[in-house]
Amino acid sequence: MQQVTRRWWLMASFGAPFTLGLSASALRVRLDGDDLRVAAPQFRFLTGKPLEKLKDGATVVFLTQLSISTEVNAPAIKRAVDRFVVSYDLWEEKFSVMENGADRARVSHLSSTAAEAWCLDRLAVGIGGLAPDKPFWVRLELRAEDARDQAGVLDDAGINLTRLIEIFSSPARAQQMRWEQVAGPMRLMDLKRESRSARSG
């Protein structure tokens, strides 16, 4: 049996946060039909100021972008953007989320982690044209919407995707809450394929 030395304890103590940090930043990428989806159980955005605002009965709007690029910092070759309106039920102490996409899906009575997971689960970026053996990077970006960016984001047809892409093309404002996770390099041929029905079932 391996002896537990002082050195082992030291390495474990100092290494644990680092290891946890790495695993916290990991995006779980999977294929769902012709779409690429992500999950990030450690990716927490219903915290801090947005959470305070929600508990004051306000809505907080999050803008998201899931993108694929060939290099870690290269421009995206494929992307999907979305907008989520989150509110917190003051009496039931549960979260409600509405997606501003075409179908305006809405869920309620969720815990904060379930609400976060739901938002990420709605994101899907198409993989059409992506070679199975070509390495790529996946980037998940999320920003709390700044009031100055609201103009033009919503129109009669729902969200204006071009406007959202424009927003993500420019740097976040100084005071704007933002989160980002990157995963890669990876190849389509290595990814686990999973269908939505299988997950939900």
């Binding site: 004051d56 009965g57 509110s87 039920d89 009496w91 409600s96 501003n100 305006r104 309620s108």
Partner: protein
């Protein structure tokens, strides 16, 4: 036939129903919208300062389902009426299940730093005048320091520093305290110097002036305030011999300021004030005089149209130093005239009225006024002008109405 009509009606209703889109959720859906507003709490500052109409609209939220859009709209109106940076909205659980309380307060007023430009104006005959101030807000306390160079207000151009401490809530919201200090260096126009040589009744010029003024303000009733205190002015007179003089006065101002509403979409504002400065030997003053000033302003806004009338009158009894004397012919009074042509020493009597009509950004105005001293005839003078005003910025051209050649005066600036 009867059955045919009924079936037509039924099929019409079904067709109409079939064409209806399912009701969509609002884009910014808030799950708390299903709760009823039990009460709306306003901070003292909002409660005391907002208009009657706005307060009524806020009260109308009570008993209704929470409407975040309406709440945002009201917060915006409060911000606009009170000229504050932000209004916080909190929705809390009510005392009764499925009810919520709304709490509105002014945000970011506890501690903050503010840089402002109380005045900047270019006048084609008087040059630039401007002031810049920095204010530290620490709870109810405001400490302000600033620089000023003003050749517009008085017969002199005064430039220097000024500082102010203000407590806006001394024990109660009804009592405020203010201490002001200023130190100026004066410059004089050639016309003023020439006129002084011919008029021995007006005290001479000075190079420097220091001013200290402690003032308390009491809110008598919501729109009515009374300020009282003292003003200690010390200045270095140059002629006939260089020496220091003082003009120390007891000061008081009664001010009425109210926003009136009630005629549909009209918004009316009324301001009226009377101020008195009484310099007396009892305060160790070298000058003894009383200076009275009355001022009223009324404006009515409907849509893009605004009409306003502003009148003021003033009387000085006794011999007052030059900085106390009234002037006309600057960027706000009898616009279009040059104060150095009208009365380079200023006057001890003044009467003035100004009518402005604004449509959107376009502003046209008519000024009339007279300035004189005892023993002189009061000559009424007129001027007209046109300008563009956007928020606090204004650019205008004003013309004196007189016989002979009338040169227009150009003015551009902010907050003047």
């Amino acid at each position: 036939m009867k059955y045919a009509l009924i079936s037509l009606l039924i099929s019409g209703i079904r067709l109409w129903g079939g064409n209806q889109q399912p009701l969509l959720e609002p884009a910014e859906f808030n799950v708390n919208s299903r709760y009823t507003v039990e009460s709306v709490e306003l901070s003292r500052e909002i409660e005391t300062r907002i208009s009657h109409g706005l307060r009524q609209d806020i009260q109308e939220l009570i008993g209704e389902k929470l409407n975040p859009a309406a709440l945002n709209d009201l917060a915006k109106r409060i911000r606009s009426e009170l000229h504050v940076r932000d209004v916080t909205q909190k929705v809390l659980r009510g005392n009764v299940p499925d009810h919520v309380k709304v709490v509105l307060d002014i945000a970011g007023r506890k501690n903050e730093w503010d840089l402002s430009v109380p005045k900047v104006v270019y006048h084609s005959t008087q040059g630039f005048s401007g002031a810049v101030e920095g204010t530290a807000i620490l709870g109810n306390n405001r400490i302000t320091a600033g620089l000023v160079s003003d050749g517009d207000d008085l017969a002199e151009r005064y430039a220097g520093v000024r500082a102010r401490y203000e407590n806006r809530k001394v024990g109660s919201d009804r009592l405020r305290l203010r201490f002001e200090f200023a130190s100026y260096h004066e410059q004089w126009n050639r016309s003023t110097l020439d006129a002084l040589g011919k008029d021995a009744s007006v005290p001479g010029i000075y190079r420097n002036r220091q001013d200290f003024s402690p003032v308390a303000t009491i809110v008598l009733a919501k729109p009515l305030t009374l300020s009282f205190g003292a003003d200690f002015q010390r200045f270095d007179t140059q002629f006939p011999a260089a020496h220091t003089q003082s003009a120390n006065a007891a000061i008081t101002t009664l001010r009425y300021e109210r926003r009136l509403e009630g005629w549909g979409a009209d918004q009316q504002e009324l301001e009226a004030s009377y101020s008195l400065r009484a310099a007396t030997k009892a305060l160790n003053s070298d000058f003894a005089y009383t200076r009275h000033r009355w001022h009223t302003r009324y404006s009515i806004t409907r849509g893009k149209h605004t009409v306003s009338d502003e009148a003021q009158a003033g009387v000085i009894i006794g011999q007052a130093p030059l900085f106390e004397r009234f002037t006309l012919g600057n960027s706000t009074l009898l616009r279009g005239w040059n104060k150095y042509d009208l009365d380079p020493l200023g006057g001890s009597r003044v009467a003035h009225n100004s009518v402005d009509y604004r449509y959107g950004m376009v502003d046209v105005f008519y000024d009339a006024g007279a300035i004189w001293d005892p023993g002189q005839d009061a000559i009424l003078r007129h001027s007209v002008g046109v300008g563009l005003r956007k928020s606090s910025f204004m650019v205008a051209m004003a013309f004196p109405i007189k016989e002979g050649r009338a040169s227009p005066i150009f003015m551009v600036g902010m907050n003047y």
